[in-house]
Point group: C2
Chain length 245, copies 2
């Protein structure tokens, strides 16, 4: 499983096409992931046309991967298909609620990660766009997602045209707890984040943002309370509109 | 990647131990999954003691895997560790909100699926317990999870002592959409669910539950509106208590 060990995000792709046959075969195998009650509560919308990429691009803050990747896959929570089946079979579905969203989101993300592993094993490069959950309503409109569906992850896919360094990760003992959660002492925190704080690229971020600490780059620039509060409200509104609240 | 293609849920385990070294090595590699802003917003609590398994068991509706597996792993959303770091570095964290929960849940599930793939590739059997999100408060109490953490997935792990048949999956074209979401006609629905409805085991479920259709087994017995509504309310309450609303 060296493809998982060596994994890096790939944002630059060669011109070569990624065939539908290859993609479908990877998605078919990815669907072997665990799924609640074997319901498979997800759908994938595949974007290849320039026009659709143009429309999606601003919803992902114009990250260049959206327009440059041969394929953009939007992984969506989907309780619509299952609900259609229930209605057609004289059964009264009860999936227009928050718990159903959470269960379908779990299904969708297990499937998404399985796809990424398989794609990388096949030599493809992928980039996970977290921006999907920042602006779900825009994506819903562009991809014409009906009620009881919800976009949750976007993956750009293509043949790699770069080989970036692997990013750092926290020490393994910082996120494994034996029997009960062991809360962190200030010494623990210093140790856990020491490597991250020592990296030249992170020191550079602190400098160019005129901050005192790397943590301030996160809280004041990258992921601010103000943005998070605004996007939380939007997300909850959109959940309601899509029938999950 | 035959381990993904051949995957089945394993609920029966041999007596043999699963060493901490092996588990830690798998979890370390699993942490190569994509993570928002390289924040790694998750923790895993590992349960091996009989006493703790006894306490977790009823929270998972007494599914026998919890007590029979050598190891039970509870994968948790974790914005506590990152928030501790921010506070200790003169930065004001803004992660006590719903969007932060959604982002951390994504991180956690990508990491969880990566772990499952690696465990299965190493010959281990796993079972994903969806019950984790049905009763989060109980699990929080048992595992002593602090604010800004939340249990999202439980995986029982052990050496396989069964080799069950692979379950059916929907036809691939039923969950892939080209360019925009194509809603389902009643003919589509008939085709998509035909295989599932034709299986002897599913016909048996319909019969023993005295239902007319397989869909009714789902809506009236397995995943009812009443249960879903009650668990939605509980989940949202618990999100609030854990500091995410």
């Amino acid at each position: 499983m060296t493809s998982i060990k060596d994994r890096r995000t790939i944002r630059k792709y060669k011109q070569g096409e990624v065939s539908s046959d290859l993609l479908n075969s990877l998605l078919e195998t990815a669907a072997r992931a665990a799924t609640m009650g074997n319901m498979q509560l997800y759908s994938v919308v595949s974007t290849r046309s320039e026009k659709m990429k143009e429309e999606l691009s601003p919803l992902h803050f114009n990250q260049p991967m959206v327009k440059n990747a041969p394929v953009v896959l939007t992984f969506c929570v989907d309780f619509n298909r299952f609900t259609c089946w229930c209605r057609q079979r004289d059964a009264e579905p009860g999936y227009d609620n928050f718990l159903s969203f959470i269960c379908a989101m779990s299904d969708t993300l297990l499937f998404t990660q399985n796809f990424c592993t398989l794609a990388e094993e096949a030599g493809l490069g992928t980039c996970y766009l977290g921006t999907t959950v920042y602006n779900p309503q825009g994506i819903i409109d562009v991809l014409k997602l009906p009620k009881l569906t919800f976009p949750i992850a976007t993956i750009t896919v293509g043949w790699p045209d770069e080989n970036p360094a692997q990013p750092d990760r926290l020490p393994i003992n910082s996120f494994i707890h034996e029997e009960v959660y062991k809360d962190y002492t200030s010494e623990d925190i210093d140790k856990i984040y020491a490597l991250k704080e020592s990296l030249e690229e992170n020191k550079h971020f602190v400098e160019i943002n005129a901050k005192k600490t790397l943590a301030q780059v996160y809280t004041d620039c990258r992921y601010t309370k103000k943005d998070n509060m605004a996007m939380s409200a939007t997300f909850l509104d959109t959940l309601k509109k899509q029938g999950f609240m």
